[in-house]
Symmetry: C2
Subunit: 127 residues, 2 copies
DNA sequence: CGCGATCGTTTACGTGCGTAATCGTTGAAG
DNA sequence: CTTCAACGATTACGCACGTAAACGATCGCG
């Protein structure tokens, strides 16, 4: 009876980020990282872990007296839905208008452009 | 004393979208569009308009007995902050990783690729 | 064997949001 | 003038979220 994928909030995604970087991890470790990076108190992190558990976004495997947490949903899937959502909302679902937007806004430095070019070449080669 | 730019919520952005498409507009017109597109009731739209007013995202100019609404913040600025936020959160603020993500996910059709290539050429020409 | 530290669970609370009903004002029609 | 309809303003309400404190179980140490 796994609940269908629910939405992961911004704060929750910070927890996911930690787990995606390296898992499984004990609550203590997660807490340590988030206390440093986000300045969150222990209770905050505990709550977020529980909400993620309820959403079936992570799993907790008993390891002796504590639990080890690991992500159930992949980072790729999360990133995918988030970015697709933005593209749909703002750019009619198309990537090019987004790039165009950034270039108009001069948010593209030469390095970015070079990397994009490399990417396009690679895509060409692949097909 | 214009309050610093506040965050525009998803529902509110639907109202903005209507105004960005064509403004100024009377509440009645906005309502008609959103009732059709989003299925919103009158009260809902009124509330959103007021919240946007409080956020200084739109202005209301008296036109006889009614008001005509117009956006105060530009669509470009909104799009900019939204997309920058996503890039920061998910792609370390860089555009290339996002494009890479989409290509890996096979979300790029040849048409997209062609358009991206055109864009890059144009950017090259411009500098 | 009891006690305290350590985890996880439960409860809490203010805020913003989505959605809407109700209130109050005011111009227009009779 | 009086009353009605139209419009904006105010109030409402449940839910998710960010943030956290309080509670409860449990394991290891003395």
């Amino acid at each position: 009876m796994d609940t269908p994928p629910q939405r992961i909030s911004a704060a929750e995604s910070e927890v996911m980020k930690v787990l995606w970087a390296d898992s499984p991890k004990a609550a203590e470790d997660i807490l340590a990282i988030l206390a440093k990076d986000q300045g969150w108190a222990e209770g905050t992190v505990k709550t977020l872990l529980n909400r993620l558990l309820k959403k079936n976004a992570i799993a907790a495997d008993k390891d002796g007296r504590r639990f080890l947490y690991r992500p159930l949903i992949g980072r790729e899937d999360y990133v995918d839905s988030e970015s697709q959502g933005l593209l749909d909302r703002l750019f009619d679902g198309r990537l090019a208008p987004l790039v165009s937007h950034f270039s108009k806004r001069e948010k593209l430095n030469p390095e970015d452009v070079a990397e994009l070019r490399r990417l396009l070449e690679k895509i060409d080669d692949d097909q």
